[in-house]
């Protein structure tokens, strides 16, 4: 019988991971797809899952009361969507929607956190892989906030 194990193993976030951890996570994983325009998660959802994107593009939006939804990041194949499942209250911030057909592996975080209780090495292994993603996203957002391409505030001598 075909399992989801190879899909987990080939995703970049699990590159080089001990296969025993993949086997542990398989029970929490399922294959999912979203059509263009479909929401993957909504702002405020209890974030009890994360997604390993295999195909397609997901837009992450925040809602501005004056401007409506603003896309601040898009994620593509090989990337991971969702990290709020790591810290209480495990609640999604912002919306995520498929820009085109998206195929992904969904990991049930409640199931995974239950496994952490019995296997701290698995928890440590996943944290080691998620923290660089979080810091990289934070760095990218910082650069976006700098608005580096904006017109200069003061007229230049040029």
């Amino acid at each position: 019988m075909e399992t989801i194990e190879p899909l987990l193993a080939e995703h970049p976030i699990f590159h080089g991971i001990d296969p025993k951890y993949i086997s542990l996570m398989v029970g929490c994983a399922s294959n999912v797809r979203f059509n263009a325009g479909e929401f993957v998660v909504h702002d405020g959802d209890k974030d009890n899952e994360f997604y390993l994107i295999r195909h397609g593009t997901v837009a992450l939006d925040v809602y501005s009361p004056t401007k409506g939804p603003i896309t601040f990041l898009t994620l593509g194949p090989g990337e991971v969507m969702g990290w709020e499942w790591l810290v209480p209250p495990y609640q999604t911030q912002g919306d995520a929607r498929a820009l085109d057909l998206v195929r992904a592996v969904k990991i049930d975080a409640t199931c995974l956190r239950a496994k952490f209780e019995h296997d701290h090495e698995l928890e440590r292994e996943l944290l080691k892989r998620f923290v660089p993603i979080i810091t990289e996203r934070l760095k990218a957002l910082t650069i976006q906030l700098l608005d580096v391409y904006a017109p200069r505030a003061h007229k230049s001598s040029f």
Partner: protein, 271 residues
């Protein structure tokens, strides 16, 4: 040091605040040649002189093509020029993109905003001599979709099978369906061999800093990452000292530098 008179052949807007000038020399018999990455001092008569990179094709140097943004008195005067108006040109000045040493390597071009203009001549060169290079990747980031330069050419480049084009915007607007996020995020996905790559980077200094960090994280040696610096160039020949940066003068020793040469000086606020 005396500006050569050129006449505006054509002028057109690229975006709301960015425009391109096509210039023909009043004395064509003197010719004009430049290397990709060099700049000219453009003199709006009676207003002032500014350093502007050449954005045209080095193999077809005339008409001379400059793309720039209106940011102050002189560039605004340039933007208002009409067909037939006269302008002074000194140059070309400075160092160029390493398109010849890059033969045999993969080439990654990372541009931010108006930074695509000085890189376009290098892109023309590598695409014309496509068989001399390995993978070619153009990674381009702008503030919004409407800030993109050379949109028709971008479409053509995206349609080529022999190069990889990644485009992203910091802020999605309207019907934009492409990538959103900073240009540095495209680096990890671009197809190139970091140990055999020459990278050419141009954009705001802070964007270049983060780009170099990502490129080196992926394994490209700093000595093979080239950046184009911008400072207050005045004379263009390293005499006046306005553009001094550490031990070098950007107008003469730059604007294109291998990044490892700049590293000791980049985070010194007093420079």
């Amino acid at each position: 040091m005396t500006p050569r008179p050129f006449r505006v052949k054509r002028t057109y807007a690229e975006t709301d605040d960015t425009f391109t000038l096509e210039l023909e020399p009043e004395r064509p018999e003197e010719g004009f040649a430049f290397a990709a990455g060099q700049f000219n001092m453009l003199y709006a008569y009676g207003v002032g002189e500014v350093p502007i990179s050449i954005s045209g094709d080095p193999l077809k140097p005339l008409p001379l093509i400059h793309t720039t943004r209106s940011v102050g008195l002189v560039t605004e005067a340039l933007r208002r020029l009409k067909k037939g108006d006269l302008i002074g040109v000194r140059g070309p000045f400075g160092t160029s993109w390493p398109v010849i040493p890059a033969r045999g390597s993969d080439v990654v071009i990372v541009a931010g905003g108006i930074g695509l203009a000085p890189l376009r001549p290098a892109l023309y060169h590598v695409l014309r001599n496509r068989e001399d290079y390995g993978q070619i990747a153009l990674l381009y980031g702008t503030r919004t979709p409407s800030d993109m330069l050379f949109t028709k050419e971008l479409e053509q480049w995206r349609g080529r099978f022999d190069m990889d084009v990644g485009i992203t915007v910091d802020r999605a607007t309207g019907s934009w369906r492409g990538n959103v996020g900073v240009v540095t995020r495209l680096i990890s996905r671009a197809p190139f061999d970091p140990h055999n790559t020459v990278a050419m980077v141009c954009g705001p200094e802070i964007m270049m800093r983060y780009t170099v960090m990502e490129l080196t994280k992926r394994g490209v040696p700093e000595s093979r990452v080239f950046v184009s610096m911008e400072r207050n160039m005045k004379c263009g020949i390293g005499l006046c000292g306005h553009c001094q940066f550490g031990p070098s003068f950007i107008c003469k020793d730059g604007p294109v530098y291998p990044h490892d040469v700049l590293t000791p000086w980049l985070r010194r606020w007093e420079i």
